[in-house]
Amino acid sequence: MSDFPRWKYALVALAMLFGIVYALPNAFIPVPAVQVTANRGAAPIDQALRQKVVAALAKQKVVAGEVVVNGDHLLATFANTDVQRSGSDAIKALLGDGYTVAFKLQSTVPGWLRAIGARSMPLGLDLQGGVHFLMQVDQNDVIDKQESSYADDIRGLLRQKNIRYESVTRNAARGQGIAVILRSEADRTAASNDIANEYIDLNVANGPSTGNRYVLNVTVKPEKLRALALGTIKQNLGTLRNRINALGVSEPLIQQQGENHIVVDLAGVQDPAEAKKLIGTVATLQYRPGIGYAGDAQAQEAARTGNIPPNANLYYMRGSHQPVLVSKRVIVTGNELVNASSGTDQQSGTPEVSVTLNATGARKMLDFTNANVGKPMAVVYVERVTETKMVNGKEVRTPKVTESVINDATIQGAFGKQFQTTGLGSQKEASDLALLLKGGAFAAPVDIVEERVIGPSLGQDNIDKGLKAVTLGLALVLLAAALYYKLFGLVADIALVFNLVILVAVMSLIGVTLTMPGIAGIVLTLGMAIDANVLICERIREELRNGSTPHASIRAGYEKAWATILDANVTHLIAALALTTMGTGAIKGFGVTLMIGILTSLFTSVTLTHAFTALIHGHRKLKTLSV
C-alpha cells in the first residue's frame, strides 16, 4: 500500500512539466543577426528599405538567412558571425548615419514558448565572446563640486541676510566642510541659525574663536554625501547607457557593482577601442542665447552657404540633425547646474524638465532672462574625446570636440535659480533631456580598472567543453548510481536528470546569465545532489538489515534520512549564500547556481524519488527490495 498522498504526485508531475517546458528554450540555438533601427529624423523602416537592404546584401554576395521588418526595426539573420560581420558592413555602407546597425543574437525560440514567458538563459561573455570593462567612479570630484557649491550658497545667504562675514572657504582637506569666519558672537549665532534653517543637508558647529574671528564649521551631512555618491553612480550608469546605445550593441550589460564600480559587458564586440573612446568621453554643457530656432530659414541658409554670422556658431540638433544658429556667448555652464529632473507640467500636462542652478548660475541666468524674455535660448552639449594615435612610433593625442544642441526653447519670463523647460514631445524625451543635462553637469571621471577581451572562438570552445563536462559527469554518476543501488539507483538517476532540467528551467526563468563558473556550479550540484539519495538508500539498506519489511524500510528510510538531508543542505545553503554576496561576477554566478541547485535537488532527490518509489512499490506485496 502506498502512504504517498495524491497531491504530492500532482506536485511532482507539475514540477517535471514545468522543468521541461521552461528548460526547453535553451535547446533552440540563437542565430547571429543584424538589427537596424531608424534614428530620429530618418525615414521609418518599411518594406522599401527592406528591398534596398536585400539588394545591397546580394550585391556584396553576402548570404542572409532572412531579412524581415519587425515593428520599428529590421532584422537580418546570418549563418555565422563572419557572414554577420560582412553583412553588417554592407548594411552600414548602404544606410549611413541615419540608422543604428547593431549586432544581435536572435532567439529562435518558438512564439508559443515565448508567450508563456519561457526564454533561454543569456550567455555570459566567457561563453560568447565580447568585451568586459570594470570602471571605478571618482567620487572626490563630486564632493569637491558639492562643497564649492554650498560655499557659494552660504555667501549668497549671508549677504541676503545682511550678516557681515570675513570669509567663507572650503577646508583644505576634502570632505572636511566649509569654514565660515564671522566678526562677532551675535553674527555667528544668526548665521548658524540661518544656515541650519535654509540648508537641511548641512551640519553647523561652532569652531574655536580667536580675537574677533568667530569660526563656524559647516559640513555636509554624511547621509547627504552617501546619497550623492549613490546619485553619481546612477548618473554615470545613465550616461554610459546613453553612450553605449550609440555604439550599436544590442544587449549591453551595464550595472553597478559595489559602491563605486560599474561593470560594462558588451557581447559580440571585438574591438574595445571604440567602446573605450565613448566611455572616456567628457561631456559639458552650456546655456547660450539662441539666434532663431532650429531649422528656420536663417539657419538653413547658413548651413547651405557656409556664411555664419561672426557672433554665432552653427550647430545641429541632436537627433533631428536640423541646423541651428547659436550665439557664442555662454550664459551658464554645466558646472553651475545643481540638478535636473523630468516631470509633468502642472498647467498644460505636457512633459517638462525642471532645472536647478547654484547661486552664481542663478544670478547670471536672472540677469540674462530679465533682458531677453521672448527670445530663444539653446543648450549646447559639448563632448570632448581624446584620441590617441601612433604616428611614427610616437603617441599623438588629439582632442576631438563634438558639439550639438540638445534643446532650444523660448524664454517665457525672467527666472533664476529654478526653471522649467516645457513643451517636450514625450515623457521619454523629457527624461532623456534630464539625463543629458545631468550627464553634462556631473559626470564624475571614470577609470577603467579591469578589461577583458574574449575572442568568439574561445567562447564557443568554452561552451563545447562545458557541455561535454556536464554530459560526461552526469553520465558517469548515472551509471555509478544504477550499478550501486540498482532500481533505487535508477530512480535516483531519473531525479538527477530532472534536477538538471528543473535547475536550468529556474535559471532561465529568473534570467541568470550562464557563465563558465556557473557551469562548474551545475556540475558540482549534480555531484552533490546524489548525496541525498545515497543517504536514503543507505538508510533503507540499514532498515532491511535490521529486519524491517520492505514497505516499512522505505518509509523509515525516507523519514530518518530527511532530518539529516535537511541539516546538511541548510549548512550547504549558508555556504552558497556567502558566495552570492561576493561582489565579483564570476563567483556570484557560481554561488547563485549552487544555491538554486541545492534547493531544486532538495525537491528532486527527496520528493520526486519518493513519488517514483511509491509508484513502483506502492500496490505490490514485496519480499525484497532492489537497493
Binding site: 575572442g455 556540475v523 555531484g527 539529516t564 541539516d567 549548512t571 555556504a575 556567502a578 549552487l594
Partner: protein, 321 residues
C-alpha cells in the same frame, strides 16, 4: 552491490591521538607553506595583463618564453593551457619596455597586447591572440578581502546553525574541522603552486560547503544514537556513528569526485583550477569527517544529556503536589 562491510567496526576513535596529531601537523605545515612559499596568485588578485595565445602548429612553452625574452620581456609568466597549441602569458604592465615611455599611469591593454603579439610573431608567424585581460591591482586587493569576509561569514553562519540545531560542542568541532580543511587545501595548493585565481577562491568556499555536509551527516547520526542508546558510552557511540555512515561518506565523495574529474579532464582551462581544488577539498574533507571531527567532539566532552530533546520545565507543574 556493496563495497563496504556494513558490520565494520573500525576503531577510528582509538587512533584519535595519532589522527589529531597528524591533522595538527598538516595544519602547521600548511600555514608554514602558505607563509613561506605563498599562494601563486592569479591575475584576478595580483592585477596585471594576461593573454591567451593560440598557435596553428604545436608550440613549446620554452619557445614562447624565448621569443618574449628576445623582445625584452623577461618577467612574463608563460603557461601551457593544456594541449599543445594554447599558452597563457601573464605579466605586469610595467614590464613592457614600450609602455614605459608613455608613463601616464594608465594601462593601454591594446598596445601591450599588440607589442607582445609582435614579439611572438617575430618568432612564429602562426600566433593569434585569443583573449586579453587587464585587471587593476586595487580590484585584486578588494577580492582578497571579500573572499576572507565570505569565508568568515560561512563559518559563523554554519556555527550558528549547528549551535541551534545541535549543541555548542558540535558547532565548535565542526568549525574547527572546517578551518583545518580550508588550511590544508590551501596548503596543498601552495605546495604544488597551482595558480590561485577567482574560480579557485570560489571552489575553496565551495569546499567549506561540501565538507560541512559530510560532518553534519556524521553528527546527525551521533545525535540519533545518543538519544536511542540506554547506556551511552561517548567513545563507542561516536565510533559506531562513523562506521554506520562510512559507506555513505565514501560513496558520496566518489560520486562528487567523478563529476569533478570529468570537469578536470574535459572542462577546459577555465574550470580546471576549480576542479582540482574541489578534488583536493573533497579528499581532505572526507578524511577529516572520519578522523578529525569526532575526536574533537569527544574531547569537548559530548554526552547523552546534552542531546536529549529539551523538555519544557514547567514551573507550574513542579509546584503541583
Amino acid at each position: 552491490m556493496e563495497i563496504f562491510n556494513h558490520n565494520s567496526n573500525i576503531p577510528f576513535l582509538g587512533m584519535r591521538k595519532y589522527s589529531i596529531a597528524i591533522a595538527v601537523c598538516l595544519m602547521i605545515a600548511s600555514i608554514a607553506l602558505i607563509a613561506t612559499k605563498g599562494l601563486n596568485y592569479g591575475l584576478d588578485f595580483t592585477g596585471g595583463v594576461s593573454m591567451v595565445v593560440d598557435y596553428n602548429q604545436p608550440v613549446q612553452v620554452s619557445e614562447v618564453r624565448a621569443a618574449l625574452t628576445k623582445g625584452g620581456l623577461d618577467n612574463a609568466v608563460v603557461q601551457s593551457l593544456g594541449g599543445t597549441r594554447e599558452v597563457s602569458i601573464r605579466m605586469q604592465p610595467k614590464d613592457d619596455k614600450g609602455m614605459k615611455q608613455t608613463a601616464s599611469g594608465k594601462v593601454n591593454l591594446d598596445k601591450i597586447s599588440s607589442d607582445v603579439l609582435g614579439m611572438l610573431r617575430a618568432a612564429r608567424p602562426d600566433a593569434t591572440l585569443k583573449s586579453r585581460d587587464y585587471v587593476g591591482s586595487e580590484v585584486g586587493a578588494e577580492l582578497k578581502s571579500d573572499g576572507t569576509i565570505a569565508a568568515l561569514f560561512v563559518m559563523l553562519g554554519i556555527m550558528a546553525y549547528l549551535w541551534i540545531r545541535f549543541e555548542r560542542r558540535f558547532a565548535i568541532a565542526a568549525v574547527a574541522t572546517e578551518v583545518h580543511d580550508v588550511l590544508v587545501t590551501l596548503g596543498i595548493i601552495a605546495l604544488v603552486q597551482r595558480e590561485f585565481d577567482m574560480t579557485v577562491l570560489a571552489s575553496v568556499l565551495a569546499v567549506i560547503g561540501y565538507s560541512i555536509n559530510d560532518k553534519v551527516v556524521v553528527f546527525d547520526r551521533i545525535r540519533e544514537l545518543f538519544r536511542l542508546a540506554r547506556k551511552a558510552e561517548p567513545e563507542e557511540i561516536l565510533n559506531r556513528s562513523i562506521n554506520n555512515t562510512l559507506s555513505r561518506t565514501i560513496i558520496t565523495s566518489l560520486f562528487t569526485s567523478i563529476t569533478m574529474g570529468a570537469m578536470y579532464f574535459i572542462g577546459g582551462p577555465v574550470v580546471r583550477g576549480f576542479a582540482v581544488t574541489m578534488l583536493i577539498g573533497i579528499l581532505v574533507g572526507t578524511l577529516s569527517s572520519i578522523f578529525v571531527a569526532s575526536p574533537i567532539l569527544l574531547w569537548l566532552g559530548v554526552s547523552k544529556k546534552d542531546l536529549m530533546p529539551v523538555t519544557r520545565d514547567n514551573p507550574e507543574l513542579a509546584r503541583r503536589p
